[in-house]
Symmetry: C2
Amino acid sequence: MAKRVSIKDIANKVGVSTALVSYVLNGLEKEKRIGPEVVKKIHEAVKELNYQPNQIARSLRKGSTSTIGLIVADISNPFFGQLARVVENEAAQFGYAVVFGSSDENAANSAILIKTLVNRQVDGLILAPPEGSAEQIKYLMNQGIPFVLVDRYLPDISTNRVVLDNYNATYSAVKCFVANGYRRITLVAYKSTLVHMRERIRGYQEGMKDNGLSDFIVVKEVRYNQIKEDMEAIMTGLLNERGMDAVLFATNALSISGLYAIRKSEVKVPEELAVIGFDGHEVFDFFQPPLSYIQQPLEEMGKESVRVLIDQIRGSQKTVHIEMRHQLITRKSCG
Amino acid sequence: MAKRVSIKDIANKVGVSTALVSYVLNGLEKEKRIGPEVVKKIHEAVKELNYQPNQIARSLRKGSTSTIGLIVADISNPFFGQLARVVENEAAQFGYAVVFGSSDENAANSAILIKTLVNRQVDGLILAPPEGSAEQIKYLMNQGIPFVLVDRYLPDISTNRVVLDNYNATYSAVKCFVANGYRRITLVAYKSTLVHMRERIRGYQEGMKDNGLSDFIVVKEVRYNQIKEDMEAIMTGLLNERGMDAVLFATNALSISGLYAIRKSEVKVPEELAVIGFDGHEVFDFFQPPLSYIQQPLEEMGKESVRVLIDQIRGSQKTVHIEMRHQLITRKSCG
DNA sequence: AAGTTAGAATTAAACGTTTAAGCAGTGCTT
DNA sequence: AAGCACTGCTTAAACGTTTAATTCTAACTT
């Protein structure tokens, strides 16, 4: 690796001190009353030597890295991939770069990632906390490290967060089913104590109750790391019994996994079974007939997370709780 | 932000110099002949104060950051999302973190990203170079910055690279079509001079020729940033003419976009039109009937990229060109 | 007794920036 | 002639590590 050009090389070439070079590079030539010829010479030398600032040195001195960390469950999951993209763009607007990590919904992984990123002195974190990560979140608070929770949050700790109106989302999905004549509606969710999941479940349950369907409430829970097996078992059970006429999936991955099972059976959608998915991706449109889904305002969620985080980084003392409105996209599978 | 604990705090607490603390933290207690009681005391103090090393300071001093940069076209594209995930995991194995950026197939964006990441002193880069990025790549070479190209490469410059056997991929897709009785096979590709695309086109063309179908060669090219409009126009044209009985898409995004158009028309797949996609995602299975696709060995590509890059970072002088074998996954849409 | 060796620690420079503080020199005021 | 204000620059410390060089003491050789 060819030795990089430093501020010192510029200073030597022009015959001034490094301080002047630094001032000029930071646009302080007026404020620091630097002679115009010197300014010009410095700019020339910078061009000529193709000087590139060393962000690491800068970070060390300034105590901030202009980097934010993003910890999601899985970057290869389109939901988080899209979120990452929005975060990347928005962060770039503010001059921040993004380091990411996937926790796989595992608290131990999350702890390692947080430690790694904090040691790398990220200025702040955007994270989707997995189950059992309360200690880590408290640690961040104690250390005064700015962060924003996204997608889920911890009910016992008041932190900055940007989440969906999960309760309303499933509530309105149930309503949609009911409006279209479905009654025996099943919810397939993740087995999790995380609030977003509990809220989705609660929204479903209340929706059923409010529509006089308490007797038909069925909530099936799938384990995150055994999604295939669990889904297989649950769906074949459900489909064989023929006791349900509609199914609501509580996440993106669950929707896709569930659809596999449905397709394997010969059940007709929506004649025999109505389906609503979550975090719809455009590919949901390919299911025959196209799938209805609850859509999250990813663009806004991502942008808002970054903005809130940067506010925190800049010293804001407020704690903000943002709840975004879902949108129910109805296709032929329901409605 | 509560002032962080530094090596100096440990040194003060124990009553030794910072050098000793550093040695102990780096496991050099034997080599540097440090007294056993001191070692113990240092370890205790580290625990007690919950010391976390400052990677930035470390990086500055050591001249390496244990960070790699990943520049893809779009992290929200499942192909790159999955690749990113593999890269993340593999990099973590070697103690590297990953900073990412999306170029949107735009050379100017790519240039900015490269500059940003290089200024942040990443130890190396994995990148999918967009069209017109030759200068940037040469710059990296001149600077001696380790990097690996992935997915595509520049034919005029010999660099480390990990790519698919693009030529064979489309060639064998054509073969599959032909074996199943299709003749009027159209290729829909990106309008691009990038080698991977040219190779995919060439594979198709040669495949057609070798099967005596020279007269039926039709290659349509779609612009990356106008994919919807172009695809719309092309597909309606193709479908109206009814001059084709099979279509091959040259990327993931093209496949999805093309399928939209196909579904809008009332054309039956595979009776009236056979389809093969690229970079198949599991969701391709949902198309009715399931779509055949060319599958890239993403897991291996990602891992290999990281390994090659780390080899370079460690000083390897070899330049490696790795071509991975595709796999043709045939579903009912062809075969 | 002088010299060597080994063990255990310290010192201080270095990485590339930023930035507070200081210092000349000039010209102006009184 | 002394004081002041301005202009334009330099000095040097600091950020938190790593690490080569050095120092000190005690024990061991001859």
